[in-house]
Structures are given as C-alpha cells and as structure tokens.
Symmetry: C4
Subunit: 198 residues, 4 copies
C-alpha cells in the first residue's frame, strides 16, 4: 500500500491543527494597542506550537519520502501521532490563557513528550517494515536526537514545578534543535546519490 | 471516473471532523489540575470518536484501494457516509459534556449505526459497479463483521436505557473488533499476489 | 497550467465548508430528547446545505474532469464561486436558528443564486478557453438546467415574502433536480467513447 | 525533494484560513434585514481578506509551478509565509468588529506587509536553489511589483493614523495590482514556449 493517501490525510490534519490554534486568539473588544496586551502570552504560545507543528510536518515529510509502502500497523501508528498532535491546540490555549502557569506548562510538555514518543514509535514500525538495512533503518538506528529531546521534555516537565519558565525554555530548546529538518536523511540521501554516481 | 478526487475530498472531510472534535474540549479557566477534571468525560468521548474516525479512514482507504472507478451513485453514497460522520463531533460533544447521560449515549450509538449502514451501502454500490467476481465483490460478499457491528450497535442503543455505560461499552467493543484494518482485503490481495506469482 | 492544484484547493475549501456548518449546531445543555428539539430547524438547514455543497462538489468534479488546462481568469472565476459557497454556513445558521423566518430564507436563496451564477460564469470561462467545439463547450452550450435553477431561485426568494416555506420548498426543488450528477457530461463521454470504439 | 507535498500542505492551510474567516461573521440574533447591518464592516473585511488569500494562493501556485525541487530552507520559508497568513483571520476580525478603527487597520496592514516580505523571502530562497538564470530567477530578478506593494503597505500603515480609511484604501489598491495572477511568469512561459517552437 502506497504512502500517498497517508501523506494526504496527515497533511490535512496538520494543516487544520496549525490553523485552528489561531482561533484561541479571541478578537479583543477594545481598539487600542493595550487591548492586545492580554493576548501576548497566547500569541507566544501560538508561535511555539506553530513551530512545533511545522517541525513535525517537515520531519514527517522527510521520513515518508524515503519509504515506499505502509501497512495497517503503520497507519495506526501514524494516527496515534496525529492524536497527540491534535491535543496541541488545547494545551496551547490553556498555557497561553493562563499566562504560563505551572500545570498548563507541565501538561503542554507532556503532550509534546507523548507526540515525540508516538513519532519514535511510527519510525520504529516503518523500520520494521522496510528492514534495518533500508535507508530509513540506517537513519533511525541510533536516534540520539530523539532520545535527547525526550529527556529534555521530561526535565522540562519536572522543572516546571520549580518555575514554569524553566519548562517553557526547555521546550523552546527542543524546538531549536529540531528546527533544521532531519539532516540525517538529507545526508544519507546525499551519500547514496554520490555512491550511485561512482 | 477515477477515485483520486473522491479520496482527496473524503480525506479532507475526515481530517476536519477528527480535528474539530477537539474544539469541544473548551479550555478551562482555572490553572489547577482539578480544573481539568470536568473535561475528563469529554476527553474519553473524544478518544473513542477519534478511534472511530480513524477506523473509517483506514477501512475507506482499504476499500478504495482495490477499486479503479466510481460512478455518480457511488459519489453520493460516499457523501451520505460523510454526512453521518459529520454528526460525530456533535454527538461526541453532547455525550461528553453530559457525562454519558442516557439520551446522549443512545444518540451517539444511533449516529454510529447510521454511519455503519452508510458504509455498507457504499460498499454495496461499489460492488455493483465492479461486479460480484471482482476482488471487492469477493471481500464484501458475506459481511459478517459489518452485520455483527450493526447488531451490537442496536443492542448498545437499547441497553443505554438500562444503563448508559452498557451502551458505551458496546461501542468500545465494536471499535475493538474494527481496530485492525480490514484484513479481509489484505488477505485477498496476498492470495491474488501469490496466485499471480505461480 | 494543469487542473490538479485547482481541484485540490477547491476540494479543501468545500470539505471545510461542509464540515464547519455542523459547528452551527451548538451542543444543547439538557440531556433529554426534548433539549434537541430547538435544534431541529438548524438540522434541517444543515441537511439542505450539505446536499447543496455535495451537488457543487459533484458537478465541479465532473466539469473539471473533462478539461485539461486552466488560465488565470478561470482560477479567479473558481475563487469567486468558492466565495459565495463560503457564505453558505453563515446563511444556513441564520436560517436555522431563526426557524425559517422571512429574511433569512430570502438571503439563503440569494446566496444560492449568486453561487449558481458564479458556477455558470466559471463554466463560461472554461468554455472560452477550451473552445465551443470542445466536449465542455458542447455540454454547456445550452444550459437549460442552469437557467431553470436560477429562475426557481429568483421565484423562491420573491415568494419567501409571501411565506418563507414557499422559498424553502423552491430551494429543495432545485436541489432535487441537481441531485443526480451532471448527466450531460456522462452522456457526452459515453457517446464519445462509443464513437472511438467504432 | 519534489514540490507536491509542499503544495498540498500549503493548499490545505490556505483553504482553512479562507474558510474559517467566515466564522468571524457571527450569526445575528434578529431576523430583520437591519440585524445584518452591524455585520457590514465584518463582511467588507472578509471580502478583502478573501481576495488577499486568493491572490496568495494564485501567486504561490504560479511560483511553485515553474520550479521542480525544494530544500529544507524553502520548506521553512514557506511555513513562515503561512504563519503570517494564519494571522489574517484574527486581524480581519479585529478590524471588522471595530468598524475600521485606527489600530486594527494599522495592524491589518502590518500583517499584510509581513506576509509580503515572507513571500519575497520564499521567492529568494527558491531562486538561490534554482539559480539566477532559471526561469524563476529571471522572473523574480527585479521584483518591482513586490517592492511597490511593500511601500504602499508601509504608507498605508502610517496613514491609518491620519485616517483609517486611507490605510484601508491603500490595502485595496495593492490587492488591485495583484488581482491579476503573476503575469510575469505566464509571459516568461509563453516566450519560452515560442522559443522551443522555433
């Protein structure tokens, strides 16, 4: 079974998630610049979540680009990833509207952590299908970046109870290390291409 | 007429349905963990509906994968299926916000039943178009799983009036038997492939 | 320029329109069956609008299926059609929530009329591009069904001021005559195919 | 990496943006024509934003049509463009609901300006990838229309503080000069085609 429709469905869901988040920024009643001020934390949360969904879309795009088929199990692993990402607008709204209070920041991190684990599980299912020696298998063999992210999320969630801004900073940090699309795949492809060219 | 655009439109509608359901989980005003507690039944409803839409997408994907053309009648049968599924966010919200009261649980089951019958009718239209001896015709000849589901839905709706949790359990049961994507089709394809290989 | 991305964008917009309309059916607070009763007119409006968007999607699908290229003018004619259709959720909500009062029913008809004229204009642009002797040109030469619809809409809008249900009945009537996808194109294709076969 | 999925994702986001804007037009409670009157500025804002999103979709369509590959940097440049466009529903609502007050009109212009700069940056990234002598490079070499637009936006934002309608008129003006899809590309393609034909 090809990857086309899986990509189309995932694109649709990610496009909607990224867009409905903006609905949490309720249009204020005043017309002064000051009336926008209470929206600032909501806006900051929105920007971070937008970047995260963008990262997931980018990496998802890269990962599915080097595989050719999916099975039923991968379809559900993908759906599982979309489930956790679908909760991002909710936790974004809760965190933004409460000006980065402790529990909202911790829950935001938890949803990010679950999404990261779901992404890892999807990669695992696809590697099983393609084989460990496949391009994908070689790329995702030692997922140091993924493991590091999960550890930073866990630390961020815990440290949110010391001060929520520590948690928030941790999440920004993870976004920063993923901002560049999965270069492991681009590098792998480049090496393969150069080998083919010999 | 090819199936491409039918799939694209259905993917779009299903992606939106699965995503706007999360809008029923209104961001709470408090910042404590306790302020999330009233959302628990809404969350549970959301998870079940997410799984259901996932099942429909998966099976729809499998069904359209083995056919090559659609006619006007199938387009409308597909639209009819999407209609019932489009009501899922509404009944999910009603059931969740009312903590699984009797009528909301019964109506939720009714919408699931109507969607199941609509899916069955779509399969019927496609079999008529492709022929009973087509791969699809052989798969959907004796739809025991489909008939069983409908009976469990009907029982669940009725028993909701004894206690709503019986109804809810029935719906979870049907989701469980459908969770695995339509293996009949995967099996059929595998057999055909092995025959071709002889 | 190919039609692929035009179809994809239109599918996306139509899928969203058809799905967000259901958000107008606000989840009621009560749990009795009676608490659903005030939603009945909203539901009836939703069903009619769902059928209308379905009709537009079907006919749009048929029309773009027999053409090969689009130009900038057609892109805008298509956008113009989507504009009027994007107002359907608004007028559906206004009509449903006000139990089919006069002005809402008249405005609903006006939006349908504008969408019909926009569809006609899109067909006109595409015929200009493809030529009057093209398959599309032959199909849309004498658009009796389209002209009839517009007349019924105009009559329906006017008669809404006598009694809104007359207007509503007129719109149901037009939906009924379009319910079957554009058979002119299917017929045309069938004739062409049989000619090719000679 | 092909442009297919980038187009699909962008189409999805733009389709959702253009459609959820209509949700800012809240269904009024009255049934008279007069009850629609307060919605008039919201409607006017909606029309302008609809045209703008349409322009972006059209030009995006044209730009990606003449390139063949994208890299990670272009994916993020595209995401950056979508970010600013995702704020359009918010500023449209703020401007419309406040009857074109000063700050809302100025902020609306600022978001349009940022989107224009983001579009310009995306074009720049793609030209770098394709080369200055590529069709895209020749088209976007001297982007006089783009520079002019940005200047008019800046003027419009500033003059909103003299009177908001001056700002609004400036934005309408820019929409008017972009209304026609990017003819530079169509012209370029036409010249190339005629050369190929020699």
């Amino acid at each position: 079974m090809g990857t086309g429709r899986l990509e189309a469905f995932s694109d649709g869901v990610l496009a909607i998630i990224i867009t409905i988040m903006v609905l949490e920024m309720k249009v204020p009643h005043g017309t002064s610049l000051a009336s926008l001020q209470p929206l600032l934390p909501v806006f900051v949360s929105y920007v971070l979540s937008f970047v995260y969904i963008g990262i997931y879309w980018n990496n998802h795009h890269h990962m599915l680009h080097i595989i050719k088929k999916v099975n039923g199990r991968s379809l559900w692993a993908n759906m599982h990833l979309l489930f956790w990402l679908s909760l991002v607008p909710f936790v974004t709204g809760w965190m933004g509207e409460n000006n980065f209070a402790t529990w909202p920041v911790a829950l935001y991190g938890l949803v990010l952590l679950m999404a990261a684990l779901a992404y890892r599980f999807l990669a695992h299912c696809l590697v099983q299908l393609e084989g460990k020696d496949s391009p994908l298998g070689q790329v995702y063999g030692a997922d140091r970046k993924g493991i590091l992210s999960s550890l930073v999320y866990v630390a961020g969630i815990g440290l949110s109870f010391v001060h929520p801004w520590i948690g928030f900073t941790a999440y920004v940090l993870v976004a920063a290390i993923w901002f560049i699309p999965d270069q492991r795949i681009e590098k792998k492809l480049a090496i393969d291409n150069s080998k083919d060219g010999q």
